[in-house]
Structures are given as structure tokens and as C-alpha cells.
Symmetry: C2
Subunit: 129 residues, 2 copies
DNA sequence: ACATAAATGATAATGATTATCATTTATATC
DNA sequence: GATATAAATGATAATCATTATCATTTATGT
């Protein structure tokens, strides 16, 4: 009776890489990085495992509207900043907002997403040079 | 010297339709509706004009992560609710949040997006039947 | 009416993500 | 350790919303 998930070196490496970075990587970035250790790894393996981790609650998917899904191994409640210039996704150190009675009657929400758009520190400095 | 945008019945109809609804339509929804009045209209015309309106500041694009771009002729500051069940985008009647010193030093943001996820009133009722 | 270029409609191309499938591999059992 | 089973992989094709291309139509100033 085998009905469980199995271990694989690729799966382990993908999760380890996600946990080692604060860059909120895309599938393609993970693919490029992991090819150094697994030259034969397939892009489909990245996508499959990202979906697997998301279903297991080990990572969250972040959509900032740039056409790429970003992934984050930090599953705690936190918000993000997206730099319109360098297109980096950056963590914000900001307490989760509490919304009491803002939803219409009969609605319920256990989850919300807040993204700030603008220019990060580096990009603002470079624009002045 | 012609270097301006011109009038077209299609462009006028697209904007009028967007202004007449609170459904936050997708390009494909607009396409289906407008074919009633313009049987020969092309989907590219919808996309072209949506981009045009967005650049003119007449509409805003909303990305709730469902794989479709939604459009809204209400350009005032407001937030949205996305129903995970019926996948509708619904306006929230909620004052714009003011964020004082939440961004890291050197960062600036003139725009943020807040989306709540959950079940709308209709979908919650239907689940109990 | 004419000239010009913007707008359209048809169609192909793009590109991130997902699906398919033959092969490999992890793991429980003998 | 061998074996059986199904999960996981890698290669590849398919999907599908959106964008690009281009010949034709159309709006608008003269
Ligand atoms: Mn994060
Ligand atoms: Mn709205
Ligand atoms: Zn930046
Ligand atoms: Zn609903």
C-alpha cells in the first residue's frame, strides 16, 4: 500500500533553495539555479513541486501582476513591495492588518493580499546618477 | 498634422460598456457582449483599446490572480473582493488606507493594491443548500 | 474630394504554465 | 538483497490569455 509522497533529491533541493532566499523566486529562476546541481533537471519538475509545496502549505504563491508566479517559503502573514523598476519582490516589515467590519454583509474572508508598488531604494538612487 | 487619437464607434462602445457595469469584466467578456452590436469586431480591438484606456487613465487593470486581466472604469481609490467560488470581482466600500512609515528607508510608493479572498454572500448561501 | 495616418479585423506569434507519457527511482514487502 | 508497486522525473507537446503583424478600412484636417 503505497499512497504517500516520496522523497527525491530534486524535491529536497527545490525546497531548500526556496528556504535559503528572500528573493521570492520564479519557477525559471529556480530552474536556472538548480541546473548547477542537477544538470538534467526538467522545468516541469520545478512546477510540479511548487504546486506540491503550495498544497502542503509549505510555500505561498505571490502574484504581483508581472506575468510570473513568485514563490515564498515564508508562510507567515506579511506583505510585499514590488519595484516597478527592477521588478523585485521585497518583504515588508509591517504587522498584519486587522479588518473588522469592512466586508459586505454575508461575505467572509480569511485571507487578503496587500502589495505596494513603487521604486525601491536602489532604483531611486540609480535614477539620480 | 495628424498626431492624435481618433474616434471610432468600437472604442466608444467599449468604454461605454465598461462604464455601465460593476462586473470588472475581462477582455473576453467585453468581446462577447460587443459582438451583439458589432458582429465583426475583433478581439484585438478589445485588447488594444483596453491598453489605450489604461494609458489614458480612463480605466484601471485589476489582477486578482485568476489568470485574467479585469478592467474597471471606476478609477477612484477602492479595494476589491475576489470570490474563490464564483470568481467574481466585487467592489468594497472601504476608505483608502493611509500608510505612514511602513515602507523601508528610501522606498517610495504612490500605489498599493489590496484584495480580499473568500466567499461572497451568494456562494455562501448556495453551499448550505 | 483628397491625403494622411489612426483604427480595425484577421491571423500568427509569444510565453508562462499545464498535461502527457515513457522511463527512472523510492520504498514497502518478501 | 531481489522484487513489486506506484510516485517522481525529464522530455515534450498542448494550452490559452495576451501581444504583434499587416493588409484594409475609416476618421479627420485640408
Ligand atoms: Mn515574502
Ligand atoms: Mn472596482
Ligand atoms: Zn528596484
Ligand atoms: Zn461567489
Amino acid at each position: 500500500m503505497l499512497n504517500q509522497s516520496r522523497h527525491s533529491r530534486q524535491r529536497e533541493a527545490i525546497l531548500a533553495l526556496l528556504r535559503s532566499t528572500k528573493l521570492h523566486p520564479t519557477a525559471d529562476w529556480l530552474f536556472s539555479e538548480l541546473k548547477k546541481e542537477f544538470p538534467n533537471i526538467g522545468l516541469a519538475t520545478i512546477y510540479r513541486n511548487l504546486k506540491f509545496f503550495e498544497e502542503q502549505g509549505l510555500v505561498i504563491k505571490i502574484d504581483v501582476g508581472d506575468g510570473f508566479d513568485h514563490y515564498d517559503a515564508d508562510t507567515s502573514d506579511h506583505y510585499h513591495f514590488f519595484c516597478d523598476s527592477c521588478r523585485k519582490v521585497i518583504d515588508l516589515d509591517m504587522p498584519p492588518l486587522q479588518f473588522g467590519e469592512v466586508l459586505p454583509d454575508g461575505f467572509s474572508s480569511e485571507h487578503h493580499q496587500l502589495v505596494f508598488f513603487g521604486k525601491c531604494k536602489n532604483c531611486k538612487l540609480e535614477l539620480c546618477s
